[in-house]
Symmetry: C2
Subunit: 357 residues, 2 copies
Amino acid sequence: MLYAVIMAGGSGTRFWPAGRKCKPKQLLKILGEKTMIRATVDRLRPCVHVENIMVVANVLHYDGIRLELPELADSMIVCEPYARNTAPCIALAAYKLAGINPNALMAVLPADHLIGPETRFRELLNAAATLASSQNSLITFGILPDKPETGYGYIEIGEKVYSQDGISAHRATKFVEKPDRRTAQFYLDSGNFLWNSGMFVFSVSAIIEAFDRHLPEVSSVIKEIGPFLNSHEESEAIRRAYQKVAGISVDYGIMERADNVLVIPADLDWNDVGSWGSLDSVWGRDENGHVSRGELISLLSKRCVVDSGDKLVALIGVEDLVVVDTPDALLICRKDMAQEVRNLQKLLMDHGRDDLL
Amino acid sequence: MLYAVIMAGGSGTRFWPAGRKCKPKQLLKILGEKTMIRATVDRLRPCVHVENIMVVANVLHYDGIRLELPELADSMIVCEPYARNTAPCIALAAYKLAGINPNALMAVLPADHLIGPETRFRELLNAAATLASSQNSLITFGILPDKPETGYGYIEIGEKVYSQDGISAHRATKFVEKPDRRTAQFYLDSGNFLWNSGMFVFSVSAIIEAFDRHLPEVSSVIKEIGPFLNSHEESEAIRRAYQKVAGISVDYGIMERADNVLVIPADLDWNDVGSWGSLDSVWGRDENGHVSRGELISLLSKRCVVDSGDKLVALIGVEDLVVVDTPDALLICRKDMAQEVRNLQKLLMDHGRDDLL
């Protein structure tokens, strides 16, 4: 039985001022009509039963997620009291699912990525589930890169161990961090490196075994929650465990260390939407190269990213800007400095404007 | 008796989106707490009786001006049905004042200029009134220039004909249009050229005589309104006359032609606030060179002009921009292209957004 675990722990500080402490990226309608988490659930629905979908999120965002995903069972929205990166989140979900169904297969999916085409995504997901049920592997998806992107991690692929119906799986020989431009170009040219999508499929038994072996310090703390999972003492037990557990990523803690990791090359349109700047490869550009939501008038202007709600925006003589307007705050940022947006948090506090965080 | 005629016929399209068809520059709080027309009246009040202050404005702006200046008599807010430049406006005011007081002296002042210090302004105004009452001259103020400004017209001064208490008057030998940069530098270096402030003082008899001599085609049409002035048929008579009268400036039609024009050099801080870009020499700059109204957070940004009402604006990596935010429209413009703002009018119409004009 396939379960989905949607990791919705992001804070979205890079999407200020649309993103706020209580409204992270996954709860924004960054693309079109749906919030990103709604799109993530809708993308899964044809191949995962609704009662098998779990969301793990920061407690700050519980209300927003509860409202956004009314069809999910209460017990399947799990709150983390503190952000502890992906490894504790996945361990918690694995133990929780093991308590429901020891034979569960789990797909772990970020709540805030852009993925298409959806049909192909589900074909790949089903193939990964089939593979995960037949062997003890940890399966991840590697996106076929089309440019030397320096904002993503990469996975080096080795021997092909599976191939059927246009879907193959390879041994993962190396996980690498975000490269510099030159290295990224080398990775692209080599044909042996794929973008690390942060999406995984494994059986709960395989991932629990991997935690016990590679991250025993995480495993032992999360295991203490076990007796309280799916009871009314669950959240208090999670709080106690999260106070102790170290924040560590599943890539660094498990995937780079395990020898049973397989990569499925994924021919998907994929974007982790890391900042406002990344949107210019996502939304459709107009004849001046602008990508915008809201009405735009452009005079002698080019290549801006504009999100203004219902407000008309007029640009005169400007290029490569990000413009994000909200009722109480307006951001104007050079597109290639969009990563700096997260640094506004401290400045806002210095200005005594914690209300805008 | 000194009367003031405030010319408030401007349309303010260069101050979009704060300025709109029904809210021209003179009705904006461009500087601080007061609208420009309120500041213009307050500046005059210590030396002109309130019942002697007249405003000539486009009929579109009557309601806004009526609300803004409740102390003015109804009969002293004169509406123009069409914009016809300054000459018909001044002729109309002169005939109207002549009907009230044939010995009236009139100071003609734009409603939307920034002028300080106020005490010095009033000293100069009183000196001009004294001079205008004793001889048949047309008196104008020439601002002592402090930079080679290409956005203003200039007046060349000749023989000094009056000097008392630190105030002098010279014959005006030439009125010139906005010069190019090189010519402006020559004017500045010569010491014989002053900025044309567009402010005048004369007796109604002197200006009517000048109209009869130099602009008889304007004079004869406006004279037809005479019998209806200060009656309930006034506005209909004005409408008939304005349908016929040519639009022409008083500088071109009268001042450049008359031989009885005197210039008083005025040591004033003066700015005609011609566009958003001109504000950066008006508002106080902060440590990054920004001039702003509203709360601003600046990261790696310099020299922007920001008007955002109550909204916080965060700038990252941008320089020399104009940012003006309103509830339904947002402008982002290169500062040195601020003159282009008026060209948005046509684009807004093309977009079917006449509601934003």
